[in-house]
Amino acid sequence: MTVLVLSGLLDRPYLLLGVVQTAALLAATLLLLYPVIAYAQNVAYTEGVVGLAVGLALVSLSNLVGFLPEPTVRTAVPLVSPHPIVVTSALNLLAGLSATVGVYFFAREFLPGRDGPDRRFDDGDGEGEASGGFETAGEEEVSDAD
């Protein structure tokens, strides 16, 4: 049985590559989740790491669905009975969303309009008060004109 599966895979290089890719994606998912679970105190960006891991897991799932024969997928989803490509593209979209949300958590402190990367070390009486001063200054000018 195993030999049969292996020789079948070797006859189809793309299928073999697909299996290796899916295995690698699953391995990457587990590698990302391991420190989140076992070394939680070290992980400052849990949402980011989990978002990426869920994204990779969904791409793996999408690949696995892609290996299934079309009738299997059509009967597995009863009411819609979609083509496997519809299922895989839907899963890929969910994966893209998850990974993008994840990477947002890494990027957000460097985005314009946010405080700089040092905001966590800010003692609280710097920029906040300065911008408040600006706003009240503007209001005072208006009230002076009146």
């Binding site: 590559l17 391995a27 590698l31 070394y39 070290n42 990779l56 839907a90 890929n92 893209g96 990477v103």
Partner: protein, 108 residues
């Protein structure tokens, strides 16, 4: 049974949405990798733009009519295999860096 017209349209729409989402993800991953470039954590983030770009590229053809052209499928299969492998390798590399850093096998 091949894809129906409705299914083709659905695949196109889902892929287009994914291309938009992944473009945002690509930009954010560049911002994150640049922002953390001096920190050891940057090692984990550096492969992510490559990963997002590769996933973006493998999704793009499905938003077009290209997949129906003669001779397209074999060319696509080879390109897809290469680009998807780049995505997978980047993802695995980022995950290995994450494990190295976050489990203190390398200094944080």
């Amino acid at each position: 049974m091949a894809l129906s017209n409705v299914e083709w349209a659905l695949v196109g729409l889902l892929s287009l949405a994914n291309v938009v989402v992944l473009t945002v993800g690509l930009v954010l991953s560049v911002v994150a990798a640049r922002g953390f470039s001096d920190a050891p954590f940057g090692r984990m983030l550096r492969p992510l733009p490559v990963m997002f770009l590769a996933f973006l590229l493998v999704n793009t053809p499905w938003t077009t009519e290209l997949t129906g052209w003669p001779g397209y499928v074999p060319a696509y299969a080879l390109t897809y295999a290469v680009v998807f492998t780049v995505a997978v390798v980047s993802a695995v590399w980022a995950a290995i860096q994450a494990v190295y850093l976050l489990t203190e096998r390398r200094e944080l």
